[in-house]
Symmetry: C2
Subunit: 135 residues, 2 copies
DNA sequence: TTATATGCAAATGATTTGCGTAGTC
DNA sequence: GACTACGCAAATCATTTGCATATAA
């Protein structure tokens, strides 16, 4: 948006990025706020949101829109697919899908030129599968 | 939720369903509210929301979560994919994709059993392609 | 009659934003 | 010192919900 803006290296930004990159759980902004707060007691939720927007605009992290009411964030900016557990909400990575190329190669119909796509899977994680069995 | 609840045939519900089924545009709740209001002047937005939830729970329509801030609705409950124009927001159907089977057949990894997925494409509709060219 | 639906308005919940101050460069 | 970023709180926006009344069955 503002091409000449100088990005500063603040403690808040550093800790937010560090904790997100360290995390395996694809946290929501609120979850990350709680994590970061353990190190920076006075940080505000607004700052977490502002930095998550900034960092994803810069392509350093990615915002995941998996369909719930809250967005999730991934410290890995590389494109890869995700599965979300419909029971517990856990989100896992799905690296190297066999279908990947067929979806990526789809360029659209006559009148619609495709530039990107979003693919999310839903299912049961191993823990919730066990719980289902026990019922 | 409540298995013994009797669904009534109200004018509001009938008009909401009719207008959605007639529509080609995958309207948001607010857009549909404006359309329905032309026939039922006093209908409330809350009623539109309540009926959209009910009708999609019943499997008569479907709610589309295409990633914007507002949900969209489709009078056709059959599963099919959509493209959204990144310029103007128009949403089109994408029937009978060649990739369909490869995505549908993906059942998951060792620990994650896939039960469903969501696939949305983004791109430029023909009108917005023309506008791009003129620039 | 009686339970379901409606209209209205207030509540909710995630996210964004305005403002005055603090901290980086 | 200039300008970016922060904390705080209020604002926003889509959606949901409580309540008193209306209406389908």
């Amino acid at each position: 948006m503002c091409p000449s803006k100088k990005i500063r290296n603040t403690a808040q930004r550093r800790v937010i990025l560090e904790e997100l990159q360290k995390s395996e759980s694809h946290p929501t902004a609120g979850e990350l706020y709680e994590i970061v707060r353990r190190r920076l007691v006075d940080i505000s939720l607004g700052t977490v949101y502002r930095n998550l927007v900034l960092l994803s605009d810069m392509g350093i992290i990615q915002k995941l829109d998996l369909g719930g009411s809250e967005a999730r964030f991934d410290g890995n900016p590389e494109q890869h697919y995700h599965v979300e557990c419909i029971e517990c909400g856990r989100v896992n990575n799905l690296p190297d899908l066999p279908i990947e190329q067929s979806v990526k190669n789809f360029k659209g119909t006559d009148d619609f030129k495709i530039t990107s796509h979003r693919l999310v899977f839903y299912g049961l994680c191993s823990q919730c599968q066990k719980k289902e069995m026990e019922k």
